[in-house]
């Protein structure tokens, strides 16, 4: 056989890399466990533990907590990109990727595309759990899709940031702890679980600075009004900016490795 070589295109390379990451996940389904177990657990725990105290009942609490846990799960799924990339870099496989005559961004892009599947699964799990607990948003299914996509895109934008951290960090365990702390701080120091006005003043300031608060607010607004709001547009814009800044930085860090 004569080996026909054509210059692999960026899209094809990325698709192959995404396929590789999906295969890895299929062979190792526990990679999905965190994004499935976590939202279910948090939804049940928070709903039934704090629902009464915070909102006077589980049903009344669901409109608050479903967007909150959706975003927390996005953060958690996105933060998985960092350790995953670090692990790959340390394993020697990336050496081979880099020695191949292919587009340099492909391994990263492939990883990030495969990661978006985690985000999709996390979103479906979060929303379905909410539904099973009795969450019935007043808006049509179309708007549910819109908030799901907004959450996924935000998560995806954030995974570039976490990927950068993974690429710059020294070890996989360092990335892991950073990711966990970032996830906890960003999700709890926000309006994800409690109304902002119930927080103490200093915490309110922090929550107002926390971008997660804005995403959650935007999602709640869409779900409440059934219309695309100014906030939602802002979040989308910021997501795009994050990708535009952090994707090139991640590629730069990848090349540097």
């Amino acid at each position: 056989m004569d080996v026909q070589k054509h210059n692999g295109s960026l899209i094809m390379n990325t698709a192959t890399m995404a396929y590789r990451n999906l295969l890895k996940t299929v062979h190792n389904p526990d990679r999905f466990m965190d994004v499935i177990v976590q939202p279910v657990m948090f939804m049940l725990m928070f709903g039934y533990l704090f629902g009464g105290a915070i909102a006077g009942g589980v049903q009344a609490y669901l409109p608050t907590i479903v967007p909150g846990i959706l975003m927390q799960t996005m953060l958690s799924a996105a933060s998985g990109s960092g350790p995953q990339i670090r692990e790959d870099l340390d394993s020697g496989v990336f050496d081979r990727f880099k020695s191949l005559p292919m587009a340099h961004i492909a391994p990263l892009a492939g990883q990030l595309f495969a990661d978006s599947l985690r985000l999709v699964i996390a979103t479906i799990t979060s929303l379905t759990t909410g539904y099973l607990m009795g969450w019935r948003p007043a808006v049509g299914f179309g708007w549910i899709i819109v908030i799901a996509l907004l959450a996924i895109f935000t998560g995806w934008a954030l995974s570039w940031l976490f990927a950068l951290v993974g690429l710059l960090a020294k070890s996989a365990s360092a990335v892991q702890s950073f990711s966990l702390i970032a996830m906890l701080v960003l999700s709890f120091m926000s309006n994800a679980f409690v109304p902002l006005h119930s927080l103490t003043k200093p915490l309110q300031v922090i929550a107002h600075l926390n971008p997660v608060t804005y995403v959650i607010t935007a999602i709640r607004q869409i779900l409440a009004t059934g219309s695309w709001t100014h906030e939602a547009g802002l979040v989308l814009g910021v997501d795009v900016v994050i990708v535009l800044i952090f994707a090139p930085l991640a590629v730069w860090a990848y090349d540097r490795n």
Binding site: M1, V3, Q4, H6, H27, G92, D95, K98, S99, P101
Partner: protein
């Protein structure tokens, strides 16, 4: 084109912090030969190889692969060689077949070509029976074979192997040697690094010995052995009390004598020196045992050049 070199490395230098890990290394590799980079652990072999294969940027110097500068024409250069790194660079979580398919696709093969090449390589490297098993259950030898198979997907004429047999058991090691010889027969040029002298002796047409980042010696294994001089005579002195006497007696004859416990070893310029030595020992009534005369080995060259420095 007449005799273009497969590789030309000139004045390659790399520092990590203040430490010069590769120090002004230059050599040429001819097409179709096996070129061995021999050196102890930490000598700078991997670093040299990583620079040659564009994985690491050199601080100074140049690498040409079939006449193409690896910095200026990186992508082209990368398309001309296959690399098997020191540490397995295959995906642990997926099967051998999937690894081959993915790397074939990344190398630009169409889906059907990739499938065919994968089957060929699985056969060639006796991996058919475990093709669909997870790599986690692979032995070290199987992993190495897969690693090499992946490097050969595009049938590169130039192959880099970083310590291809380190950590393998003797049987698997011999298999790997056979594989390397087969590749050479098919016309490949091979650069390999090794810490093992017998491996370099067995496989390499030309050798460069590096130590502390410096290229200390270059030549064919035979040339290097010749430089070390004649055969080596070793024996044991039966009575420990006579060791010093024996050393004193023979030093004028052979020059330097190395002593470990009761064993003495010395170099002979000519084999018939042996007669004289035995007569002298006999006359002095010094009894000896375990007498052996060895042709010089690469071990001697290696020890001569690197001993005491590491």
């Amino acid at each position: 084109m007449a005799a273009i070199n497969a590789i030309e490395v000139s004045h390659l230098t790399k520092q990590f912090g203040k430490k010069t890990v590769v120090d002004d290394v230059s050599f040429k590799v001819r097409p179709g030969e096996v070129f061995g980079l021999l050196g102890p652990n930490g000598a700078g072999k991997t670093t040299t190889l990583r620079m040659m294969t564009t994985l690491l940027k050199a601080d100074a110097g140049q690498v040409m692969i079939f006449g193409h500068d690896t910095v200026k024409e990186g992508r082209l250069a990368r398309s001309m060689f296959g690399l098997t790194g020191q540490y397995a660079s295959v995906d642990e979580d997926i099967s051998a077949r999937e690894n081959l398919m993915i790397f074939a696709r990344l190398n630009g093969l169409s889906r059907s070509d990739a499938k065919q090449r994968t089957t060929e390589l699985l056969n060639e490297f006796s991996l058919v029976n475990s093709a669909d098993k997870a790599l986690k259950n692979f032995s070290g030898g199987m992993r190495r074979r897969l690693d090499l198979a992946v490097s050969l997907i595009t049938r590169p004429t130039l192959i880099f192997l970083d310590e291809p047999t380190t950590g393998l058991d003797p049987r698997t090691r011999t298999q790997m040697w056979d594989t390397i010889r087969r590749l050479v027969k098919q016309g490949s040029t091979i650069i390999l690094t090794t810490q093992y002298l017998d491996e370099a002796d067995q496989l390499a047409d030309h050798l460069a010995i590096i130590d502390h980042g410096k290229l200390v010696k270059m030549g064919t294994p035979a040339e290097l052995k010749q430089q070390i001089g004649g055969s080596k005579l070793t024996f044991k002195v039966c009575q420990t009390a006579q060791i010093t006497a024996a050393v004193q007696l023979l030093t004028p004859q052979v020059g330097q004598i190395q002593q470990t416990d009761s064993a003495l070893s010395m170099r002979l310029n000519q084999v018939n020196q042996l007669n004289t030595i035995l007569t002298m020992l006999n006359q002095a009534k010094i009894k000896i045992t375990q007498l052996a005369v060895q042709e010089p080995s690469l071990d001697d060259v290696f020890m001569d050049l690197t001993v005491g420095k590491n």
